[in-house]
């Protein structure tokens, strides 16, 4: 028989082996059904992420579900006031396990500058949170970084909260007042 057929190494037997939890996590990370809990201006950036230019569907998260029963990822997009907190808590409780939470923007992550009697200082005061995306509002690239971080955590089975790091340190060129800017080192 000619060897023209493409075969994978070790797949002559017609099956491959893996661990069940790894397979499940692989399936979960690429089929995130999202519930957008959009309350404020960050919603504009959420629309941008969901739209064709940044296109969150490239990462298998394109299907928004407006019922918490059908969703396994809740995006909390925007400021959560004390008055909204019971609704957010109830929607989180109505979601099926396994469920993931993404805090979209500074207000959802820590309350932002709404540091007063009206606003919940971060949704982690009410519900567990998996990924924080800082920014006011975050750039769509930052949100995609957050989604990739979440997928990575799902694949590893890691439920500790993670914060999206800036791609470039915004403070790296900042020089304290009264200090000289350090000279660039010459290549050695």
């Amino acid at each position: 028989m000619a060897k023209s057929q493409v075969t994978l190494e070790g797949s002559e037997a017609g099956f491959a082996t893996t661990r069940l939890d790894a397979l499940l996590n692989w399936a979960r990370k690429y089929s995130l059904f999202q519930y957008p809990f959009v309350t404020a201006c960050c919603g504009m950036e959420f629309m941008s992420v969901a739209g064709p230019r940044f296109d969150v569907s490239r990462f298998g998260a394109e299907a928004p579900r407006f019922s918490p029963r059908q969703a396994d990822l809740i995006w909390v997009v925007g400021t959560i006031s004390q008055r909204q907190a019971p609704a957010l808590r109830r929607i989180y409780e109505q979601m099926m396990n396994p469920k993931y939470v993404l805090a979209f923007g500074t207000c959802a992550s820590c309350g932002g500058f709404y540091d007063n009697y009206t606003t919940v200082p971060g949704i982690d005061k009410i519900i567990p949170c998996d990924v924080y995306v800082p920014g006011c509002p975050p750039r769509p690239e930052g949100v995609l970084d957050g989604l990739l971080l979440l997928q990575d955590k799902i694949a590893r089975g890691d439920r500790t909260p993670g914060v999206v790091k800036p791609r470039e340190d915004p403070l790296k060129d900042l020089v304290p007042l009264g200090k000289k800017k350090p000279q660039k080192e010459t290549a050695s």
């Binding site: 907190a85 992550s109 919940v120 567990p128």
Partner: protein, 197 residues
Amino acid sequence: MSQLVLDRLKTRFGAAILETHSAHGDETAVVTPESWRAVCQFLRDDPAMSFEMLTDLCGVDFPDRLPRMEVVAHLYSISRRHRVRLKTRVGDAELSPETVELDSVSAIWKTADWLERETFDMSGVVFREHPDLRRILMYPEFVGHPLRKDYPAQKAQPLVEYRTEEEAGLPLEKLAPFGPDEGMSFGRRTYTRSEEN
């Protein structure tokens, strides 16, 4: 143009107009709380006044003044294109509810319904004969009136109990760029009356 409004108010109501001033084209009249509704009715119905629109109505707390609470209404006449600002002062030093009372003007302008509810919610001014005086911005369980200067601005009254750090398994203080004092440009002072200090 609007100086005419102040002059007409003074001739019509006399001693009920406590003071008037006019700066940069903004005319203001301070009236007694007893004449509040009569002045409003006059300003809307008089053909030379015709203030059809109540732009805004709010309360301002001056902890060092007596009466302590000032209620401000901004009026605009669509047909005559002039404005006037109307103020009145109510309330004793502790702002006990029976002293922070004022006649409702919601029968004169429909807008006043929600604006008076907001003023009640934020400053605790009780409007007599208001059709439905309850909170509009805060939730019914909220205690106190947050725009009074003696309400601590950071004092939240959560409807959902916060998770404890043991439950969450991680510290729940603010994230790195936000310190405990971050957020409010006027700092953390809570105002009280001067003589108590």
